[in-house]
Subunit: 307 residues, 2 copies
């Protein structure tokens, strides 16, 4: 048998990280508590979904972990070009939608995947994940702060990672049919496998470094924006922009679609959808407005890190 | 050259029908007027989008026609298994989202498609379309009325049409990942081509009969429900159910996805999305409530026509 050290360590890590993150968000919110749902996957494994709603600061959010295993679903066998494979996957996924339109939505996901042949030998394994920010009003200092934290964490492991994963993030979160980015990006990495430079232990160290950096990347922004004054029109703008978030997740996001089409736990998958959303026909911000300034940035992703 | 009578007649028909429907809906609303946008398709043709928002009765709706032609987009060539084909397509699409949660959302679409070889010969052509109702509270008399009108129109052309197209509708508007219907159905037909019994003229007569029946199928229901009293909780339920409508249209609806992936006019395609929508984690109605009664029906489509 192969060593289960990587998978065991990573699963322990995300369990602890879920606690750390939910405790921190509850402290910032000051009112709402996460509600926990434990669920089982009939085919093997399960998850711990934690949802927060109607807080002082967070309108809706989820910080979920899952650890699932069994026969690789047929659609995934096709996708990976394998037959008769088994798998193990675990990960932490989070999305936080603040009430205040001056505070950005954040998404993060860190995950590990193993694939086995019929004898139980590992035939492939990799890490993936990332985090990205979706502001409704652009504060350049926030974008820079978020990217600088991502870059600092990446740089400890490889000087090329940040630029590579920043570009992948801009690429992945592109809302094709709107011809604009979902947000101002962050980092996105996938299929992180053994190379000359990186052992699986090195990748584990990298991914946990990124996970550890998450709260520093987001909570100072949330603290700064959570009580800023805003108007009804600014709230409406946030709800319209949340519509773009829904469009991305339901039309383009591979993880969401995969979950929906393979009988995943729907309410855990769709916890990513914002609480209140508007679709207004052909809404266009005024020229030179703060709203238009955001659109301009989303049409043309830029470099934010200053380190 | 082939005769253009069918396509010309149908396009004239939908132009007039758009006027008839928008006039009737404006009269029922009593406040809001449709706003018209004419648009050109760079590759050939264009459309006339008419949107109504923030009325007395209609919260948001669109009644759109388009008439487009040119080289068949590559994704459609693949879909139909042809190469180097040209096409012509025209149709009317409508969605109306009333304010009052007691009034159902309605969707309808009637369309005609021709495909040509490089010499300009028609190689294939067909009609398609249908209409379906999405209530938030179930009034059985409304469901029966809607289906009876559909059945009466179908029965004038073929005694088997209603049952066939009712079943196709239930099948098409199935929200797989929720394991429930989008609404209480109606009729849905596609690839209506020449048969022993039906010439293209017969199909034209059928589709225009269905189109003519639309206002009778929906407006009596809208009139009956538009001023019914409702609570904040009932409005919230409507907004949550509208979330399922968004999920269906963005995840499963072939027409919407085709439009988004082939560079259609986004704002005309997404006019179908409801104005205000909520996603509440794991919302479950009380047992024996009116809300649960709706869910039960959506899980198990039934026969509504009584004629």
């Amino acid at each position: 048998m192969y060593s289960t050290a990587i998978k065991d360590n990573f699963y322990q890590y995300i369990q602890k990280l879920q606690d750390t993150i939910t405790n921190s968000i509850e402290a910032i919110d000051g009112k709402a508590k996460f509600h926990q749902d434990l669920w089982d996957r009939p085919e093997g494994g399960g998850g711990r979904t934690r949802i927060i709603e109607n807080g002082n600061v967070i309108e809706k959010g989820g910080v979920n972990i899952s650890s699932v295993h069994g026969k690789l679903p047929e659609s995934m066998q096709k996708y990976f070009g394998v037959t008769d494979a088994n798998f193990y996957a675990c990960g932490l996924s989070l999305v936080l939608h603040p009430i205040n339109p001056m505070a950005p939505t954040v998404h993060a996901n860190w995950r590990y995947f193993e694939m086995y042949d019929q004898k139980g030998n590992i035939v492939d394994r990799w890490f993936g994940g990332g985090q990205d920010l979706t502001p409704y009003y652009l504060f350049e200092e926030d974008a820079t702060h978020f990217h600088n934290i991502c870059k600092t964490a990446c740089d400890k492991h490889d000087a090329t990672f940040y630029n590579t994963y920043k570009a992948k993030c801009d690429d992945y979160f592109w809302n094709t049919h709107r011809d604009e980015a979902r947000g101002i990006g962050g980092i996105f990495f996938d299929y992180c496998k053994i190379t000359d430079k990186m052992s699986m232990q090195n990748w584990l160290d990298f991914v946990t470094e990124i996970g550890d950096s998450f709260l520093n990347s987001y909570t100072p922004i949330l603290e700064k924006r959570k009580h800023m004054p805003y108007t009804d029109d600014q709230k409406k703008w946030q709800e319209i922009r949340r519509g773009r978030y829904v469009e991305f997740n339901l039309v383009h996001d591979k993880g969401t679609l995969f979950g929906l089409k393979t009988n995943g736990r729907i309410e855990s998958i769709l916890m990513s959808l914002p609480p209140k959303v508007q679709w207004v026909y052909n809404f266009e911000p005024k020229a030179d407005s703060e709203e238009q300034k955001l659109i301009n940035i989303l049409k043309q992703p830029k470099q934010w890190a200053t380190l």
